[in-house]
C-alpha cells in the first residue's frame, strides 16, 4: 500500500494514494477491464462520493484515480482549455493526492482527462483519454425506461436512434446535433461520446489511444480500446459532416481546428480562436500568426511570442 503520509504538511490529510481506497480502485479497474473487453458497452460501477459535486466530473476523476500512478503525466482540459477553473482544480486535486506530474502539452501526457474536447494534436499509442460523461445513455431522451434501453442495446435495436436523426433532417434539412453526437462502436454498440463537439468524433475512429468514459452520477463506465472503429450515425444520402468555419483561428491561423467565438470588446468585436488552448499556443510558438494576433496582444489578451 502506498498510503499518502505527508500529514506533516498539514494541508494534506492522510488520504490514500489518489484519494480512493484500494478496494474501490480495484472495483473500478474491473469495470474498466470489462468495458475495454466490450467496446461501447456501459458497465455499471459503484460510483463513490468525491470531494466535489456530481456533475463536475466525478466519473472522470474516479477513472483517473483508478489508473493513475507515480510515473504518469496528467493533462486536464475543460472546453479545450488547460486553464479553466474546473481543469485547474482537478489537476491540483491529483497533484495533491497522487503526487501527479502534470502538463499542458498533449504529446507529453500519459493521461488526458477531458470535458467537452479531444485535443487537436493527434493522440499516440500509450496515451489514455478519460472523458467526463454527464449522460452515458444515448437513447435516454428517446426512451425513458432503463430496462427498455438495456434491451435495445442488448439486441442492437437502434432504429429509434435513427428516427431522431430523421426528425432533425425533416425539420431542419440536416442533422442539427452538434455535440454528444451518437456513434456506433466496433459495429455493435451505439455510444454517447460525451458532450464533445461532433468535430471531434472522427478523432475517435481507430485512435491509437485508449479511451475511457466515466459517468459518476449515472454510475456507468465504458470504453473504446485502441484501434477500434467509431462511426458517427448518419443516412446514406445525408452523410455525417463535421463543423467548419469560414475563417481560420484569429490567433494562430489554424484552418483545421475547432474554433470558439470570443467577444473581445464592448463594441461587439469578436474573433474566432482555437478552443484547444495548448494547440494554439504551440502553433504561435512555432511562428504561426493569425490575422488578429497583433490586436489581441495589444489588448494583453495573449502574449505575442514574436514580439517578446
Amino acid at each position: 500500500m502506498n498510503t499518502h503520509l505527508n500529514v506533516g504538511e498539514d494541508t494534506k490529510p492522510a488520504y490514500n494514494y489518489a484519494y480512493l481506497d484500494e478496494q474501490t480502485k480495484r472495483m473500478i479497474r474491473r469495470a474498466l477491464l470489462k468495458a475495454v473487453a466490450i467496446p461501447g458497452y456501459q458497465v455499471p460501477f459503484g460510483s463513490r462520493e468525491m470531494p466535489l459535486a456530481r456533475g463536475w466530473g466525478t466519473g472522470g476523476i474516479q477513472v483517473t484515480a483508478a489508473i493513475i500512478g507515480p510515473e504518469d503525466r496528467l493533462k486536464v482540459i475543460d472546453q479545450g482549455a488547460d486553464d479553466t477553473t474546473n481543469a485547474v482544480s482537478i489537476r491540483r486535486f491529483f497533484e495533491r493526492t497522487a503526487d501527479a506530474r502534470t502538463t499542458e502539452a498533449t504529446d507529453e501526457a500519459t493521461i488526458i482527462q477531458t470535458r467537452h474536447r479531444i485535443p487537436e494534436a493527434p493522440l499516440k499509442a500509450g496515451q489514455i483519454m478519460v472523458y467526463q460523461v454527464p449522460q452515458p445513455e444515448p437513447l435516454r431522451k428517446l426512451e425513458p425506461h432503463e430496462a427498455e434501453t438495456r434491451k435495445m442495446h442488448a439486441w442492437g435495436e437502434y432504429g429509434l436512434m435513427q428516427v431522431k436523426l430523421y426528425e432533425n433532417i425533416a425539420r431542419f434539412g440536416e442533422v442539427t446535433t452538434t455535440y454528444d453526437y451518437p456513434v456506433m462502436v466496433n459495429g455493435r454498440y451505439v455510444m454517447a461520446p460525451s458532450p464533445i463537439p461532433k468535430f471531434d468524433n472522427p478523432k475517435m475512429q481507430m485512435s491509437p489511444a485508449l479511451q475511457l468514459f466515466g459517468a459518476g452520477r449515472e454510475k456507468r463506465i465504458y470504453a473504446v480500446p485502441p484501434h477500434t472503429s467509431v462511426r458517427s450515425l448518419d443516412f446514406e444520402d445525408h452523410p455525417f459532416r463535421i463543423q467548419s468555419w469560414e475563417q481560420p483561428c484569429g490567433l494562430c491561423g489554424a484552418a483545421d481546428s475547432y474554433l470558439d467565438e470570443v467577444v473581445i470588446d464592448d463594441q461587439g468585436g469578436r474573433m474566432f480562436v482555437c478552443s484547444d488552448s495548448h494547440h494554439c499556443e504551440t502553433r504561435r510558438a512555432e511562428g504561426h500568426r493569425g490575422a488578429m494576433l497583433a490586436d489581441a496582444s495589444a489588448l494583453h489578451l495573449v502574449e505575442d511570442e514574436a514580439k517578446s
Partner: protein, 268 residues
Amino acid sequence: MNMQVNPQELALDPQPLLSVAGVSRFYGERIGCADVAFDLWPGEVLGIVGESGSGKSTLLRCLAGIDKPDRGEVLFRGGAEPLDIYSVAEQERRRLMRTAWGIVHQNPRDGLRMDVSAGGNVGERLMDNGARHYGKIRETALDWLQRVEIAAGRIDDRPRQFSGGMQQRLQIARVLVSEPKLVFMDEPTGGLDVSVQARLLDLLRVLVRDLGLAAIIVTHDLAVARLLTDRLMVMKDGRVVEQGLTDQVLDDPHHAYTQLLTSAVLTV
C-alpha cells in the same frame, strides 16, 4: 360453364399462419381466458366479440405475445421455421413485432410516438429493419400517408396536431409499412365518431384485402365484425362459446349468449 379461377386462390395454403392451442390465462381464481384454440390461415380475418370483461382483450394480449398465458401454445408460421412465440427468445419475439406482426391499439397514443413527426412514426419500422436512406424512407412514408388518406403536407406534423381519426390512420400506416403478415387490432374504431368510424372501417377493409393480411380484431361492435371479418369467435366469461363464419354466427346464432348479443343490436 363460366368458371373463372384466380390461380392465387386455387391453391389454398397448406398450413395455417397461426395455430393456437389451449391458451389460458388466470388472474388468481378469476379466468382471463380459458382453453382457446383455433387456426388462422393466411389472409383470414378473425373477429373476437363479446362484451367488456368477456376475456377478449386478455386473449388478444396473449396471442400478440404481450402477456404470457399460464397454459397453451401459439405457433406462428410466418418465416422459414414455425415459431413457438412463448418459448422463443425475447429478442426473436421483439424482431417479429417489428416485422411480420403488427399491433393496432385502441388508443392511438399507445401505438404512436406523440413527439415524433408523422413521417418519423411511419419510418421507424423501416429504420428498425435497417433502412438508412433518408430519401427512400421519406418516399415510403409519403406513400403510406397517402394510402391512409393523410395529406402529404402533414408529413412533418406531430400526431398531437391530428384528429383522433387521423391518429388512428397514422397508427395503421406505421404498422403496415413493414408489410406484416399478421395484424392484431384492439377495438380499432373505438372512441371515434360514427362518421369517422365508417371511413376508417372502409380503409381497413380495403387495406386488409389488398395486402392479403391476416388479422385478429377484437371488437364489441358487431357491425365492425360483420364488415371486416371472415370468421368470428364469441367469448363469454373467458371462454369461446361459439365460432364460425361471421355471417353464420351473426345470422343464425346457436348459443344463448350469441343470440342475446345479436338481438341486442338494432341492425347489423
